[in-house]
Point group: C2
Chain length 189, copies 2
């Protein structure tokens, strides 16, 4: 991806987010977004597979933060230890000062169900990538899927709690709370 293309995607994303401050998702077309960025609809679809993708551009780096942590976990770490490392890695991607931006993004998803559905789909894809990365480390495939799904759960729960909290504790601290709670819950069957 060239420098120029990267700039185009970001311009389209900025235009989309600005339009969505005033209009509902269903009332904004890919052509509207392109026009607001001074581009054509054809250019939009050269950069994004569908209209919703423009909102999720840049999320690859977030996924990489999870995957890097899996790859960097100590040899011999248990599947759950690798899962915990993955969530810690993903959470570190969100700086404490970035909560307002995450809150605005969440409000956008909450107000537009098609975007909330795509977000769930993206998280399901992240879990699949985590499971594959764990399997590549030699974790048994069934254990990898369960640990990766559990990592997804911890992240979702911690992220929602981070956004809902009255104070603004760092996400990485909220993740530690949730990991401890999960350890406690799964210790008693």
């Amino acid at each position: 991806m060239g420098r120029w293309q990267a700039g185009t995607r970001e311009r389209l994303q900025r235009a989309a987010l600005e339009l969505l401050e005033r209009r509902r998702w269903d009332d904004v077309t890919a052509g509207d977004i392109a026009a607001a960025a001074g581009l054509t609809e054809r250019t939009f679809y050269r950069h994004f597979a569908d209209k919703r993708e423009v909102v999720f551009h840049g999320q690859e780096r977030f996924v990489e933060a999870f995957l890097d942590a899996v790859r960097g976990a100590p040899a011999g770490a248990s599947p759950m230890a690798v899962a915990a490392a993955a969530v810690r890695g993903g959470a570190a991607f969100f700086p404490p000062g970035g909560r307002d931006r995450s809150l605005a993004r969440q409000a956008l998803l909450d107000a537009n169900p098609p975007l909330a559905e795509r977000e769930q789909h993206k998280l399901a894809g992240l879990v699949e990538q985590l499971a594959a990365a764990m399997t590549a480390r030699g974790v048994d495939a069934a254990a990898a899927v369960l640990a990766a799904e559990t990592a997804g759960t911890v992240f979702r729960v911690a992220f929602a709690r981070w956004l809902a909290a009255a104070d603004a504790r760092p996400l990485v601290d909220v993740v530690e709370d949730v990991l401890a709670e999960l350890r406690d819950v799964t210790a008693r069957w």
Copy 2:
């Protein structure tokens, strides 16, 4: 919901599934489905909030199977014991002889990403209902969310394994395997 209305929804669903044997989801309109059932598009939208909903009609009974199990779990059961009961209850909803129908439905979702996304959204809704039902039993809210999410994980993993297996073991047996694996995975951090 009257008897006549129930029949209408089922007619529309049958017509949709028949059309989807020959055509892609994006090439089928709500009007096409209605016409194939001898009804109008207006009638379609009186029964379903959007086009995708027609595929998921009847899923309420599946959700109730999970929720009934939560409500019926013994007093004092731990959150994970309630979660396990919920998954067992949901799995019992799928009779051993129904795997071919579930396979056909899964093939439809796999071939049509908008339907797969809606399915994920429905499962996320089920998890929320499970957490609420656990909280109503007096389970601590944070533990309820983690246990409900874990129930969702066990069900998803077991269901996928059930459909992928060369043999046709009952889903309830596959669920027991996955519960045992999860217990093992979460015992080692």
